[in-house]
Symmetry: C2
Subunit: 374 residues, 2 copies
Amino acid sequence: MKINYQLLKKETHTQARFGILQTRRGEYETPMFMPVGTRATIKGLTAEQVQSTHAGVVLANTYHLWLRPGEDIIKEAGGLHRFMNYPGPILTDSGGFQVFSLAKDKEKDISEEGVHFKSHIDGQNLFLTPEKSIEIQNKLDSDIAMSFDECPPYPVSYEYMKESVNRTLRWAQRGKTVHNNEHQALFGIVQGGEYTDLREYSCKKTVEMDFDGYSIGGTSVGESKEVMYKMIEDGVRYLPENKVRYLMGVGDPIDIIEGVCRGIDIFDCVLPTRIARHGQAFTRDGKINLHNHQFLRDFTPLDPTCDCYTCQNYTKSYLRHLITSKEMLGGTLLSIHNIRFLIKLTEELREAIKKDTLLEYRASFIEKYNSKKL
Amino acid sequence: MKINYQLLKKETHTQARFGILQTRRGEYETPMFMPVGTRATIKGLTAEQVQSTHAGVVLANTYHLWLRPGEDIIKEAGGLHRFMNYPGPILTDSGGFQVFSLAKDKEKDISEEGVHFKSHIDGQNLFLTPEKSIEIQNKLDSDIAMSFDECPPYPVSYEYMKESVNRTLRWAQRGKTVHNNEHQALFGIVQGGEYTDLREYSCKKTVEMDFDGYSIGGTSVGESKEVMYKMIEDGVRYLPENKVRYLMGVGDPIDIIEGVCRGIDIFDCVLPTRIARHGQAFTRDGKINLHNHQFLRDFTPLDPTCDCYTCQNYTKSYLRHLITSKEMLGGTLLSIHNIRFLIKLTEELREAIKKDTLLEYRASFIEKYNSKKL
């Protein structure tokens, strides 16, 4: 078995879906948030700590693992799961986003064949192609691989985006042709920027290729929230109901809610761990910054209703002490909380979908979340 | 109850002692190694992870906590145990060592009253006295407080050391006079550098004051191993058998063995966590550096006989990947292993004392530990 998505319930008033993602490593309910383990590690967390957040699928980055330690090392280790000691499912991205975002403009060259660029580690000349991306992911032996796509900046002209969408379609087909891992699902990616007709074209053509799941790409690249939500609507409109839908790189709580309302099943983002290392934590009342003096004597947990290890054991005063002292445990504890916060959010969204109360849930969550600007 | 030390067995061929340290937070066998939590955190480890190493007493630094967050915050939090969420016993040092080692020479001024110096955080002028050190420790509410002592550099003249030893004795008395925490034990510190008669004098005079335990100070300040071992022998010779003996700042495995052979019961050191953050791990075959290329494809644990979380779950290849990628999880996982390694060592030393086989154990451990220079 690769994966299978079972749609169990559509919410009455929105496009939201409650479903189950079946994998050879267990069944996981959707909507779902995936923590990001860029270099085969969710930064600062042991596998045990990741599991304590009730995480299901986690994401690892093909680009980073290709460069270090290299996919052959991970294959020799017995695959990514054994290498990083994560027993749950793992999704690998294609490396495309990193190539397009990490390499400077004049240091990358996009051709039909693939992308020439310089390594961000040592400046080495590298060449990534759709085939190479899939070959690396096959060796990593993740449960879900992503097609190699072009991620244009925002905004680009209609003409450029049209050309890019077609190239991404050809790349998707090339990747699908060489994909060779019987355990591994392969997802297609819908691009098209903010152009509704290109999203429709990209979506329909990608679906024709019949992937195991579909992803919405090209968001979170500098566009406004309104444009992003429209990209999602345009991106999912022609997707089949019996396949899972993944919105890449989105992890703001409100964006997750808006994505779910528009029919998204899976999200991933570095946000919860990145802001944690900078001393920020999600709360029901919005994001808080533990550097703030107001927490010096605050001997309550980040969120009294939260069941995470951090909230069960540590106070804001102590977390502030760790963060202001630049102690690494601060980033770890806030990461545990922030990941759990987003996963808990998806649990509540699932309940709201089941009860057809998603709009009320959204209104109430957003009102509280925006109530204080801390 | 403050603390009580019960000597259960003296080894036949050495000065080594097997005993039990009774505290209001449980009973702990000695010899024992204490992990160091300088700023109320064993760097990178949750309380749960610290406990997974079978740690008993842990150490926290008065100087650092005085400066940040301040002893009053910790008192308001309900004491250091609640602040840092550590249920086991905590020993606080006096702050003296940090004042003498962190402040530059021209930025500190030692008088009979105490030490004027500049904060290493913001350059603020500070004044630490024996009374102030004890008052801070009383508020921190640690289980064991240390007397404020002068830690002269090495070497100093006989005349200076004699003057310093007498000052430390007067400071010890002043601290004892103001000590006011019914839960908290107070230890005296034997100084005297490498001068046997000054060690004898310091020891006898300190013991006359009747502390709850005694510490050997002034080692690990640049002296040779031979001088350090002599300092230990000179330092413990006149200590009473019914009080626990603590060698401050020593954590090299061989030094721990040599210390135990000379009658030391408790050790502490930042070594296991500091070298961990630099990618080094203790093994039975000596210290290894995970940066080394030889571990790239080493899919075995750091130590196949080790029961720590790291060895049970991760390979050297993965640890090397984390360390070379500067991922914070690398420091955390190596710290767990290194602390467990030293605690396991003390467990084995206890067994060897019980069986009167300490000299054989020492020879065999040292031969293996020095066998490879990696």
